[in-house]
């Protein structure tokens, strides 16, 4: 093995792994659940991801952003399971709206109560294609920056910018759709 004898149990101390990554349990589950949409599978994904993260921890060695690194592992694990179950959602590219300036939330004076808002948002999110849903979840709920998103999703920052923008546009449409179907 080529590892230096100096970085032994101190640097890769398994206890450090638990300290750093256990607090991310909710974030990991949230991401897995939004991708997989099925609780038992999401739990399996989280477990597998933690094991993978532990194994990769030696190489990672605390350099760089551990949150984005870890969420990337969760995401990859979730996709592996999705592919395995061949339960892929359609990733057909969304056709751009021609009239981009249309304001999509009408009736701004008619405020929804908070509970209804939460529920409509949730339903609207569920209707998004996976590609849009995950970028919104990662940005809005996990608070990743564009740069972190780029690294987690394996795409350039410019693509993050446009995908997030299109995702939000679609989300606003779905939200209006959900709202009007009530």
């Amino acid at each position: 093995m080529r590892q230096r004898s100096a970085d032994r149990l101190t640097q890769e101390d398994p206890r450090r792994f638990e300290e750093i990554f256990l607090p991310r349990l909710d974030a990991a589950y949230n991401l897995a659940r939004w991708i997989i949409r099925h609780d038992p599978d999401a739990q399996d994904v989280v477990q597998d991801a933690y094991v993978r993260a532990f194994k990769g921890f030696q190489r990672f060695r605390g350099g760089g952003n551990s949150k984005a690194w870890f969420l990337t592992i969760v995401r990859n694990t979730a996709y592996t399971l999705l592919n395995k179950r061949a339960a892929k959602e359609n990733l057909i590219p969304y056709e751009e709206e021609r009239h981009a300036n249309i304001i999509l939330i009408d009736d701004p004076d008619n405020e929804l109560p908070a509970e209804a808002q939460k529920e409509y948002l949730q339903r609207a999110l569920e209707r998004l294609p996976l590609e849009f849903r995950e970028v919104i979840i990662l940005y809005e709920l996990e608070g990743l920056s564009y740069k972190e998103l780029a690294s987690t999703l394996g795409i350039p920052v410019g693509t993050v910018m446009s995908r997030l923008s299109r995702a939000r546009r679609r989300l606003r449409q779905e939200f209006a759709g959900v709202r009007h179907s009530e």
């Binding site: 589950y29 399996d44 532990f54 949730q122 809005e140 939000r168």
Partner: protein
């Protein structure tokens, strides 16, 4: 910058992620364009909905499962580390580390699986692998209800090729467990199942003395599957079983 461009970059601007060159341009455009201002306001309003939304929280038993899985890895990691040649040169350190780790992370789970394998192989070698022989899940379930203080999920999925052979009560590491036996041609699998008091089994796969062991759990049950089937066949069995459990197609 015109309105069309402004619209494209508006989200990034509100995210404060717009690049240095475009930022002042968009900023300036917003000052002079009321319709884009209005749009920005709409976008901002919509985004504030997320402030109220709560992400999913990890179910309570997931934490225990994750800890168990990680600690299993820690044991493996520690023992792999110990096998390197230079470590043996520092004999005392190695010995005390070995002891400390055994105390901190005892291999109780490994012993559990070994016993499951023993029970599986002994029962099949005997003339009496089941106490209730029936392919009817309801009959088997009723029988268990009279014998144990929990009633295991019993399902039948003959389409997969596995036929429910029957069940028995077994003991593994001082626990009473339900043992369900399924057969397909010459192969037999035993599915051990019990309601955990505290610890939930992490999902794992093992090869012990030539037998494949798969373990998993959900909110209500711990499962251990033992057989001589291949990895893939084990996976297929587990998938069929779980699909039937989740679809509620059990009695």
């Amino acid at each position: 910058m015109n309105c069309e461009e402004a619209n494209r970059f508006l989200d990034a601007y509100l995210d404060r992620e717009l690049d240095l060159r475009r930022y002042p341009e968009l900023d300036q455009h917003l000052r002079v364009c009321p319709s884009c201002q209005s749009l920005a306001h709409e976008f901002q309003e919509f985004r504030s909905l997320f402030a109220a939304s709560a992400p999913y929280q990890a179910p309570s038993q997931l934490r225990a499962k994750v800890l168990a899985a990680v600690r299993q890895q820690q044991v493996k990691h520690a023992f792999a580390f110990l096998r390197q040649p230079w470590v043996y040169a520092t004999g005392v350190v190695v010995l005390s580390l070995f002891l400390a780790l055994n105390i901190l992370f005892p291999d109780a789970a490994g012993e559990l699986f070994r016993q499951a394998v023993l029970r599986h192989s002994h029962s099949l070698a005997s003339h009496h692998p089941v106490d209730i022989a029936s392919a009817n899940p309801q009959v088997v379930k009723t029988w268990f209800a009279a014998k144990l203080d929990f009633v295991p999920p019993v399902v039948s999925f003959p389409a997969s090729g596995y036929v429910l052979f029957g069940g028995r009560v077994d003991v593994i590491q001082n626990r009473l467990v339900a043992a369900l036996v399924y057969k397909r041609d010459k192969d037999a699998v035993t599915l051990f199942c019990w309601a955990p008091k505290k610890e939930h089994l992490p999902k794992s796969d093992h090869l012990i003395e030539g037998y494949h062991v798969s373990t998993w759990s959900n909110a209500e049950w711990n499962y251990i599957l033992v057989s001589k089937l291949s990895d893939r066949e084990m996976d297929q069995f587990v998938d069929s079983f779980r699909v039937h459990i989740q679809s509620g197609a059990y009695f």
